[in-house]
């Protein structure tokens, strides 16, 4: 996972799928990046390279979303693959994840 500050927003680029088999490592990386950028005003989860997310991957994104709420940071997900976007829409997560309503509509 790569991270960099972009005009005060911390962009977290996931390197690939977010699945039960790698979610533990992803969580450690997330916590480390959050700790390294305490001044970030918002978080962007860049999903360009993720082709699949399972429930534990969703848990991680939900947890990140909740962490942002707790810290009063903005949160949005970017560039989800069509399958992932469909999943977000079906689980009513698309809007919470800041995806465009036009994209989020089925």
């Amino acid at each position: 996972m790569q991270a960099h500050l972009d005009h005060g927003t911390l962009r977290l680029a996931f390197a690939g799928d977010i699945l039960s088999t790698n979610v533990a490592q992803q969580r450690v990386a997330l916590l480390s990046h959050l700790a390294a950028h305490p001044t970030a005003a918002g978080i962007v989860a860049d999903l360009t390279h993720a082709r699949a997310i399972d429930s534990q991957g969703l848990n991680l994104l939900i947890a990140l979303y909740r962490e942002c709420e707790r810290r009063q940071l903005s949160f949005r997900a970017e560039n989800p693959a069509p399958e992932i976007l469909r999943l977000f829409i079906a689980l009513k997560l698309a809007e919470r994840f800041g995806l465009q309503p036009a994209l989020a509509s089925p």
């Binding site: 699949a52 399972d54 429930s55 534990q56 848990n59 909740r66 962490e67």
Partner: protein, 527 residues
């Protein structure tokens, strides 16, 4: 009609009487039978009158009135593409013709030409025509053999069950390497209450094996007709192969026959298998993983004493059994999918579409698959399910779940090539969620506990069903409680988000054993 000397029969065409006479003399002295025509139209007339098959070569001038050499060649191609043609040209014409003929001509002769050169060119053309005709004849014979084999492989079994009892239905698909092959299937119904299915696989896969297969098919059918039991039939075939076929001598071509007999008694509701060298028969009962019956044993023609694999099973009201030849296992290995995925793909392809699938399928051995399904006689259109995939995973397989998902996807895509990307993605994700739950909770991560994933296809409903089961006690499946949403700092605890994913993406779900067995349904788009 021309006589047919070994040197060949020539139709000589030239509008110049002197050239015609000269060439005729050369060819006749060379031992060839010659017919002549003074232009292309007359040549065509002779070809139609005597038939193109009456000639081995046409030697024609290029420049002629009415129909020139090139136009004549085009007509000859339509009449008989195997008939070789030589065009007699001047050097300048040859360059032009070479570019335009695109190989449709056998040879060119440049005027003037020495007798020796003319005779050598005609000899080559005669030889080419005869080779092409021989090849065409062999291809026709092979196609005839293949047509007979396809006809002999029954694709269906007439329904004639006793009301209130069971009846059955047969589906077979034959996919030989060449047009004809060494696999055969034979079905015999002695009375409405009993059916005997025999699958045979002769070693090798050519026309000769096609002949041997036809011989044994006839032998087996004859013995079935007079009520000889399967073991006696196998013994008779074994004796024939050992004693009469090769005579026990290496100087004769040895041959072996792998064969499996499945006898179904629809009244006593019993299935018996006798297997001599074929892959195991798979018993497919609703809601259960496929069960392999009567595995490997020696084929017929190896040893004097038979050691067949035998098995007996009770028949529930509905179910099916699937038999296949070795070639199917080879292809499964080659494509890295399960035999069930290969069998499903073949069996789900309609007879109309099957020739195209056969042409597109690269096989290394003949493949034959047969499926016999039984059901109450008043429910001919009863629900049916065809297995696509089954895998048993030890409880500690969690870290390998990505590899499992790849295998599962590969099998589904092979068995159901028209599965949409959306549907495939939903099936994979739901199966993954259910399996994670089964491994983590039902099996408690223990190696000795085993979770099962089974996928079946219901053709009539066009529906895929995936069942994931574990040996655990199950637990109530509840929707996620928002208050229990995960906390990043506390770790990603287990909530039933996976269950919500399953309910959202599948068409329907069914639970058994307090949720320890979960079946998820996925509707496919109409075909």
């Amino acid at each position: 009609m021309l006589s047919a000397p070994a040197q060949g029969r020539v139709l000589l065409v030239d509008d110049d009487p002197t050239t015609l006479m000269l060439l005729r003399t050369i060819l006749t002295r060379g031992g060839l039978a010659v017919e002549t025509a003074t232009d292309g139209a007359k040549a065509l007339e002779r070809l139609r009158e005597l038939t193109a098959a009456a000639f081995d070569v046409v030697l024609t001038d290029y420049r002629m009135p009415i129909l020139d050499g090139l136009q004549l060649l085009e007509q000859i191609r339509l009449l008989d593409p195997t008939l070789a043609t030589i065009i007699n040209t001047s050097d300048s014409e040859r360059t032009t013709l070479s570019a335009s003929l695109r190989g449709g001509v056998c040879d060119f002769l440049e005027k003037p030409c020495a007798p020796k050169v003319i005779l050598a060119a005609v000899e080559r053309a005669v030889s080419l025509t005869r080779r092409q005709r021989s090849l065409e004849s062999a291809e026709r014979s092979l196609a005839d053999v293949a047509a007979i084999q396809q006809r002999l492989a029954p694709s269906r079994l007439d329904q004639s069950g006793v009301p209130g009892q069971l009846d059955c239905e047969l589906t077979t698909r034959n996919c030989p390497i060449h047009e004809a092959g060494g696999d055969f299937v034979s079905v015999f119904r002695s009375d409405p209450g009993s059916v005997q299915l025999v699958l045979g696989d002769v070693s090798g896969h050519g026309v000769l094996e096609g002949f041997i297969a036809a011989y044994f098919q006839g032998m087996v059918k004859g013995m079935q007709t007079v009520g000889v039991p399967p073991l006696r039939i196998a013994e008779a075939c074994n004796r024939f192969l050992l004693v009469e076929w090769s005579g026990g001598e290496l100087s004769h071509l040895p041959s072996s026959l792998s064969t499996v007999f499945v006898s179904i008694d629809l009244v006593r509701r019993e299935l018996q298998v006798l297997n001599c060298g074929c892959p195991a028969v798979h018993l497919l009962l609703p809601g259960q993983p496929p069960a392999a019956l009567a595995g490997r044993s020696s084929p017929l023609g190896w040893f004097e004493t038979l050691t067949p694999g035998v098995a007996t099973a009770a028949l529930p009201e509905t179910g099916s059994c699937c038999l296949w030849s070795d070639g199917l296992l080879d292809q499964a290995k080659q494509l890295n999918v399960t035999p069930h995925a290969i069998a499903a793909r073949l069996l789900l392809t309609s007879l109309e579409d099957f020739p195209a699938l056969r042409r597109a399928t690269r096989v290394t051995d003949d493949i034959l698959v047969a499926r016999l399904r039984w059901f109450p006689s008043d429910q001919v259109r009863a629900d049916d399910e065809l297995p696509l995939f089954h895998e048993a995973l030890p409880g500690d397989s969690g870290p390998e779940i990505d590899a499992f998902q790849e295998r599962f996807a590969r099998n589904l895509v092979h068995a159901l090539p028209d599965l949409s990307a959306d549907c495939l993605s939903a099936i994979l994700l739901c199966a993954r969620e259910a399996l994670i739950n089964a491994l983590d909770h039902g099996c408690a991560g223990l190696r000795e506990a085993v979770a099962h994933v089974t996928a079946v296809f219901r053709p009539r409903q066009r529906r895929v069903e995936v069942t994931v089961s574990d040996p655990g006690p199950g637990r109530p499946l509840v929707a996620p409680n928002p208050a229990e949403l995960p906390d990043l700092l506390a770790g990603t605890g287990h909530i039933s988000l996976g269950l919500q994913v399953i309910h959202t993406l599948s068409s329907a779900t069914r639970e058994a054993r307090n949720g320890a067995e979960l079946t998820m349904e996925f509707a496919l788009a109409a075909a």
